[in-house]
């Protein structure tokens, strides 16, 4: 039974990261109806920038308090990603708002390829290790092992997600965001600065993504230029699972997907009597998604997207 609980913990850690990234996808989709393929790469950039900053600080100011180092690195990373995302929206997506639906999708793919290869050129092709600044204790909890870092990931993600939900549901800015995702035209007529809101949405999503990237790099101690692609894909799957456009859905979808993957990989052999094994773990995740969509075509919590004008 403690193995099961360990898988649950693994799933929650994985899922928290998925949820953070999924929020970015779902917000953008809710407002623009666009699958932001480049979001995964923004997460990767977050991880790489943080890593580079830490390496720099470690090399030139080794006496610095580790917590300060991490904070500086995190801030640099989050700000870089926000700026990056802002410019992506401004230069690549905004001109295409009136274009056929698939054009910004291709642009997003182009940006994804561009960012990946830029990262390859700047930071090299190898897997990069995270320097050991902290040493994390492993704690035992109900028979399962969990490191301090993993606890931190779950807690931090929960805090950030709650903050976001509070902003979106209870602040003026949040109201403007919800209005824009209901109908851009009407919101514009009522005095909402659509461009600003859209930029803001991208920037927030990027910020969350950067944090996710840093957490992933810290947890697995590796980062490399292609880490964003699969992560982004899984996160988007999670967003769809929960109901695209729906923030709560993204959180739920992310956590669920993490749990499904962990428990699936662990038990798929037992469930199918040894016929299928852990090499089918990705299949498992997709199959669950398909089954859910067959019965609830708009995701678990239902979708919330704008009506097209």
């Amino acid at each position: 039974m403690d193995i099961f609980f360990q898988q649950v913990i693994n799933g929650l850690v994985l899922g928290s990261v998925y949820a953070l990234v999924a929020l970015g996808y779902t917000m953008v989709y809710g407002i623009l109806g666009l699958i932001n393929f480049a979001h995964g790469e923004v997460v990767m950039v977050g991880a790489m920038v943080a890593l580079a900053t830490v390496a720099y600080l470690f090399g030139y100011f080794p006496e610095l308090n580790p917590i300060v180092m991490v904070l500086i690195a995190a801030t640099t990373s989050v700000i870089s990603c926000m700026v990056l995302s802002y410019f992506i929206e401004r230069l690549a997506y905004r001109p295409l708002r009136k274009a056929p639906r698939l054009a910004p999708l291709i642009t997003a793919i182009g940006i994804s390829i561009l960012l990946q290869n830029l990262a390859m050129i700047i930071w090299g092709r190898q897997y990069k290790t995270v320097p050991k600044i902290f040493s994390f204790e492993t704690r035992e909890f109900l028979g399962a092992n969990i490191t301090d870092l993993q606890i931190f990931i779950i807690v931090l993600s929960a805090i950030l997600m709650t903050l976001l939900l509070l902003i979106v549901n209870y602040s003026k800015l949040g109201r403007a965001m919800r209005a824009t995702s209901e109908s851009q035209r009407i919101a514009g007529l009522l005095g909402v600065n659509i461009n600003k809101i859209i930029s803001f949405t991208f920037v927030i999503g990027a910020g969350l993504g950067a944090v996710a990237g840093i957490l992933v790099a810290a947890n697995y101690s590796v980062a490399h230029y292609s880490m964003g692609f699969m992560l982004g894909l899984k996160a988007f799957t999670a967003a769809v699972l929960g109901g695209i456009g729906n923030l709560g859905g993204a959180v739920l979808g992310g956590l669920l997907l993490g749990l499904i993957e962990s428990i699936g990989a662990g038990y798929i052999g037992d469930i199918t009597g040894g016929f299928l094994g852990s090499h089918y773990q990705d299949v498992f995740a997709f199959l669950v998604l398909i089954i859910v969509l067959v019965f609830r075509p708009t995701g678990i919590m239902g979708e919330r997207i704008s009506e097209r004008a």
Binding site: L102, A103, I113, G299
Partner: protein, 361 residues
Amino acid sequence: MSIISKGIEKIRSNKRILFIGYVLLGIALVSLPFLLSNTVGRTWVRILDFALIYAMLALGLNIVVGFAGLLDLGYIAFYAVGAYAWALLASPQFGLHLPFWAILPIGAGVAAIFGILLGAPTLRLRGDYLAIVTLGFGEIIRIFLNNLDHPVNVTNGPIGINKIDPIVIAGADLTRTHEILGIQFSGAHIYYYVLVLLLMITVLICVRLENSRLGRAWIAVREDELAAQAMGINTRNVKLLAFALGATFGGVAGGLFASLQGFVSPESFVLLESIMVLCMVVLGGMGHIFGVLLGALLLTTLPEILRSTASPIQESLFGAVYIDPEALRMLLFGLALILVMLVRPTGLWPGTTRKQLGNKG
């Protein structure tokens, strides 16, 4: 209408000029492989062969995405099915060696069945949900292909299937060099002609489909599914047909790929390939057959051109290779995608007579 288009119209209506034009085009097509192999090398003829196979794929996806408006991100699965069908029926894997005229129809049929299987659960799904589900299917097929080597060895797993039989006509192996009328035709050259022929047939089929009742039904479903249903179109069958027909083209292309390369492995059928084919369709001019062809030819040859020129340019400009050519070529590729979409969001060569997907006037 500008002067140029008036001019084109005039050319189109003048039968003689048209005829001469076609003859010139025919001569150009026939001599192209020799032109290439004598100037830039035989490798480029092979690259052209693969470009033609991708063109066929793009046309197949064009039916699903361009005509019927169904965003399919897992199209490469049908390519994989066709390729593995050929591999299983004509290689040492099972010891079967069926001739090509038997395998191609079987492969096409199997692919069509998969098309319906994959299409069926997606009928109720809207737009981008469809995308993620088809993506999931593409990955599922690839993972199965990679792992079906135990308990029963069907696909030989990650090692892939090697020594696949090529197309053999009248005892002549088409991937080898043959001499006809004193001219040396290498395998790559012969395959070029076979592929051009098949591609022309494909284009013909697509054009006829486009202008048929089915084609118009697809456009109706694409533009407004509810209205189409209200008009009495059986949207379920229409959509399934789109998937099945698109899959068929993919299956045939897959079989040709397996016979040309002599080897298949799951790595050739990753998600990135599906995305590439989609890019070809959209970049070329979605829905427009010749635009899609252009997109396919450009996107397959451009990376190769970049690959072989990235190092020499850097050497001549900077004296040394600073940026790794592989990274550089993909970088430029991504950049090209972005720029083309910004400058021509409807594609390089969009159709002239019908509205594009979701285009707001």
